[in-house]
Structure formats: C-alpha cells, structure tokens
C-alpha cells in the first residue's frame, strides 16, 4: 500500500469515519446549517446550541453521510468546537483552513489543532480538500448566524472557508 494513502487514511481517521462522534440530531439547536457537495453527493447538517450568556458552543451534533475524509473531519471538528466561544471557534476554523489548503507550512501547523492534524495529509490530494472542508463550511455558516436554519452547497473547486 502506498505511503501517501497510509497517511491519508490513518487509523484514527478511519475510526472517526466509521464511528463519528456527536453524530445524530441535536435537540433544540440554536442554529442548523446543512451543506452538500453536489459533485459527490456528500451531505452534512451541523447543529449548534449556543449559550447566549457566554456566547459559547454549548452543544453540537451533526447528521449526514459522506466519504471517510468528510465524516472524520466533521467528527473531529465537533470534538474541538464544543465549549469554544464564537471567536475561538473562528480561530480554529482559520487554523484548519491554513493547514488543509497547504497555506500554512508543514512545520507551522498549530499544535492546537490536535488530532485534526492527522488530516494534514489531505493537502496532498487537492481533489479531496473539499471533502475535508464540508463540515467546516457548515460550521462557518453556523457561526455567522444567531438562530435559525440555513442551507448551502459547496462549489467543487472552492476550498476556501
């Protein structure tokens, strides 16, 4: 098996894609944003419960289906985002984008990304970057609104968050 693919599909990633964390509908969400990638049919709906006092992500859940990269990325993201303030979540999003698009040099990938750093192999597969970012597009949308539901689609060539 090719070394690149070992890197792309590390066991943590396979594990998250098979048993995604925070998977399932979130009761009483503050916002829900559903996104799909029309090219491959992957769909993610992300719900956040925002604590208005602290402006913090108090709860998170997602539903949908996708390839292993997509599911693992969304799953890992939900773990990281829970408990963060809006601003902190935004910073996380920036860090992740820098890593996944290859804008951040390998050596400078923030430690703070934790297990998400396992997804850094994706940057070598430009055609898969959009898989890894689908859940994050939903997060970006969810952080940008205060309540309600929204839908969007990812342009296949659009890796920018």
């Amino acid at each position: 098996m090719d070394v690149d693919f070992e890197e792309l599909y590390q066991s943590v990633i396979l594990d998250h894609s098979r048993k995604p964390r925070n998977f399932g509908p979130l009761p009483d969400p503050t916002v829900t944003v559903a996104g799909d990638n029309p090219t491959c049919g992957d769909e993610i709906a992300l719900s956040l419960k925002i604590d208005p006092q602290a402006d913090k992500v108090a709860g998170v859940g997602f539903t949908g289906s996708g390839c292993s990269i997509c599911m693992a990325s969304a799953s890992l993201m939900t773990l990281k985002v829970k408990g963060k303030t809006r601003a902190e979540a935004g910073a996380l999003l920036n860090d992740f984008q820098g890593m996944i698009t290859g804008k951040t040099p390998e050596a400078e990938i923030p430690k703070a990304l934790g297990d998400l750093r396992l997804l850094s192999g994706v940057r070598k597969f430009p055609q898969r970057v959009k898989c890894a970012t689908l859940g994050w597009h939903a997060l970006k949308g969810a952080l940008a609104q205060t309540e309600g539901a929204a839908k969007f689609s990812v342009d296949p060539k659009d890796a920018d968050l």
């Binding site: 599909y9 029309p38 491959c40 049919g41 996708g66 390839c67």
Partner: protein, 426 residues
C-alpha cells in the same frame, strides 16, 4: 433489440477482421497513456467521461494551425478558402460517419449538452405547449434531463420518465404503451447509459415514437465512438454527441437533424455567419446548418473531429465495440467474484463500462485509492443524481473502457479493488 447495431445494411463495415488488429500498436498512438501517475503506470479507465486523443488527431490540429488557419466563409483569400474547405469537409465526414443523407443535416455545436439545449430552445420552445408530454427515461444524463425539465416547467408541459427496473439498469419497456401516447411531443433517450452501460433499442423506440407522432432525440454521447450509429437505420429526428468522447478535441459536438425538423426551428444564437441579410431593425436567417452556427466556428475542433472519425473507421467501429464489450464483460465477471461488490447495469449485453460499489467503502475513497495505484476511475453520481437516489446510493465508482485498454489493465483494477477492500476492512 441487440442485433440492429450490426445489421448487414450498415454503411461502414469494419475494414479488418478482429483477429488482424494489433491493439497494442493502436495504443501506442496515444501519447498520454505512456506515463506514470503516483509512480505507477497510468491505467486510464475514464473514457466515458472523456476519451484520450491519438497522435493523428493532435497532428491534424497542429497541421491546421501551422498551415491553414483563418476565419471561414468570410474571406476570399487562400487560407480562408482552405479553412472553409476543412470545416465543411468535417461536416461531410460527419454526415458519412452517421450515414446521414446530406451534410446539411449536420450542425456543429460545443458538445452533446449544447446540441440538446439548442433543440430544447428552438424546436421545443416552438412545438411543446401546456399539457403536452415530454418523455425521457430515468437513465438520462443531466444533459438530456434538465433541458427538458426546464422546458416542461416553462411551458406547463409534463415530463414523464420511462422507469429503470433497478440495479440491472434496464428500462421497464412494459410501461411504454402507457407512457408513449399521442400526447408525447418529444421523446428523448440515451442510446447507451453512461452510468449503467445499458444499450437501449434505439431503432425500435424511434419506430414506436413515429407511431404516435412524437419527435425523437437520441443521446449518442456514449455510443457514437463505440459502435456503428446509423441515423437512417435508427430513424431518429435528432441525434447528438460530443467530439471529446470519440477521440476528438474538446469544444466540438454534433447535432444531427432531419431537414424537416431543422426547417421548423427558429434560430438559436444570432450573429455573424448565420444571416442572409441584416437591416437596422430586422434580419433574415440562413437555413440549416449555417443558420444554427452563429459566430466564428471551432474550425480546429472540426478538423480534429474529422481525423478522429477517420481513425475510428480505420480501426472499425464493430471491432471497437467487440473489444470494449469484452473488457466490460471480463470486468463484470471478475468484480462479481469479489465479496461485498455491488454491480450496476445489465449482466449481459452491456456496453464498455461498469459501475460498482464496495460495501462500507465510499466511492470517493475507492477512487482516491485506486488513483494511488495509477488507475483513473470516476466516482460520483456520473451526472445522474436522481437515478442514484432511486437506487439508494449517493455515488458509485465507474470503470469505462476504450480500445486502448487491455485485459492486463482490468487485472490491475481488480487487484487494486481487492487491496482497497482489505485496507478499509482493517
């Protein structure tokens, strides 16, 4: 239903007996195939999306630009003359390729998609009204679905579908009597399904359509370069295909139309080349084909397409058909022997492509890993979202073949699929 593709009346019988063909030599005509990707020899199994180009086609384009290029029709100098001859020569060649009666039945477009849009926006706009029916099938590529869907919505017409039976990809033709009624103004269907590999009985379907007075459009995107396509034998009103799928350049496609149909269509795009006379507030338009080709045409595209058709008929489309089908049959058999493989399309009488899924492995992951083994597959909904939805899947993987592919390449594919299955079963 199967035989008509090879009826003895075919205009363009193979020049070689299959045994005499040196497929390996033909493969060497394709420079792109001689490369490694990710350190592995390229195994290109995505010809249904777009075929590769032989040296002969590339050379024809280069020769055109290096010796003969100019604008067509407009000039009266030597180069313009040559460019016009090259462009109109490609039209004549296309007419022969399809066994059309005259070159005037051939309109050049950008591709299958534009050809269908042209018909929908002209013939459709004028002849389909509220309450009329448009009949298509569940097998259609988005290109032969959305234009009719949108036309139906604009006009208040009804869009009906001949259903697909299921994973076997065959149309449920027992429903034809009920669906193909005199209310049907237009019946559009694919000759060969790009997802399922189903081969539809085009001549039979057109005959049935004529009985109820419906105009027919055959989407030959997947058939024109792979088997003999004879518009007279099929008896369709319109037939469409893309150059890039039949060894030709990008940006060129074909719309065949019966003269009676072209005569009842308003112009599509307007501008230079397609007018008889223009005044400040009115214009008169040329008849087909030039009346449907506004602006400077894609001359180099027509030239390359001409070379592609020459190449295909030199190999013999009957031979190509047998070759591609053999690879698909072999692939189908080998894949069906693997555990956890779901196969789409008919088990017999299939065209040269096979779509499939691996249990618990998303098509994207499969295709990415196969790519790592040097194997180019397609993964996705193959521009047929609603069909995939009907089959309960988001996407599938597809291996599609052309005469430059080999059994050894299929073996590599099988080996790759086995590795991938093992990897994800860790």
């Amino acid at each position: 239903m199967w035989l008509p593709l090879f009826a003895a009346s075919m205009h363009d019988l193979a020049k070689h007996a299959p045994a005499a063909i040196d497929w390996a030599a033909l493969r060497r005509d394709f420079p792109i195939l001689n490369q490694e990707v990710h350190g592995k020899p390229l195994v290109y199994l995505d010809s249904a999306a777009s075929s590769q180009k032989p040296r002969q086609v590339i050379d024809a384009i280069v020769h055109y630009y290096e010796h003969d290029h100019s604008n067509v029709h407009r000039g009266i100098h030597e180069l313009s003359n040559r460019a016009t001859a090259a462009y109109e020569g490609a039209r004549e060649r296309t007419a022969r390729f399809l066994n059309a009666n005259t070159p005037e039945e051939i309109v050049f477009t950008r591709g299958t998609t534009e050809s269908i849009n042209l018909v929908a926006a002209t013939w459709g706009e004028r002849h389909v009204g509220a309450g009329d029916h448009i009949l298509i099938t569940e097998l259609e590529h988005h290109a032969n679905l959305i234009p009719w869907q949108q036309l139906a919505r604009r006009k208040g017409a009804e869009l009906l579908y001949i259903p697909v039976q299921g994973d076997n990809g065959r149309l449920d033709l027992s429903r034809l009597d009920e669906l193909l009624t005199p209310k049907v103004k237009l019946f559009a269907f694919t000759h060969i399904s790009n997802t399922m590999g189903t081969v539809n009985p085009a001549a039979e379907l057109c005959r049935r359509a004529r009985e109820v007075g419906a105009v027919t459009l055959v989407d030959a995107a997947q058939s024109a370069g792979h088997c003999l396509v004879d518009v007279q034998e099929i008896g369709c009103d319109f037939l469409v295909f893309s150059g890039h799928k039949i060894l030709g350049p990008t940006g060129i496609g074909v719309l065949y139309g019966k003269p009676e149909r072209f005569a009842e269509m308003p112009p599509y795009q307007t501008g230079g080349e397609m007018i008889v006379s223009v005044d400040w507030h009115e214009a008169k338009f040329k008849p087909a084909p030039h009346g449907f080709e506004a602006g400077t045409p894609h001359v180099a595209g027509a030239v390359g397409l001409h070379a592609a058709m020459d190449y295909l008929d030199d190999v013999g489309r009957r031979n190509i058909w047998e070759h591609d089908r053999d690879l698909a049959a072999y692939t189908y058999t080998r894949l069906s022997e693997l555990p956890g493989v779901r196969l789409f399309g008919p088990g017999t009488d299939r065209a040269g492509l096979v779509s499939f899924l691996l249990e618990d492995v998303h098509a994207h992951d499969l295709v990415t890993m196969a790519d790592g083994h040097g194997i180019a597959l397609r993964g996705g909904h193959h521009c047929n979202q609603p069909l995939h939805r009907k089959l309960g899947v988001k996407s599938s993987a597809r291996a599609s073949f052309y005469f430059y592919n080999t059994r050894e390449e299929v073996d590599k594919l099988i080996e790759s699929v086995e590795k991938i299955r093992a990897f994800f079963a860790r």
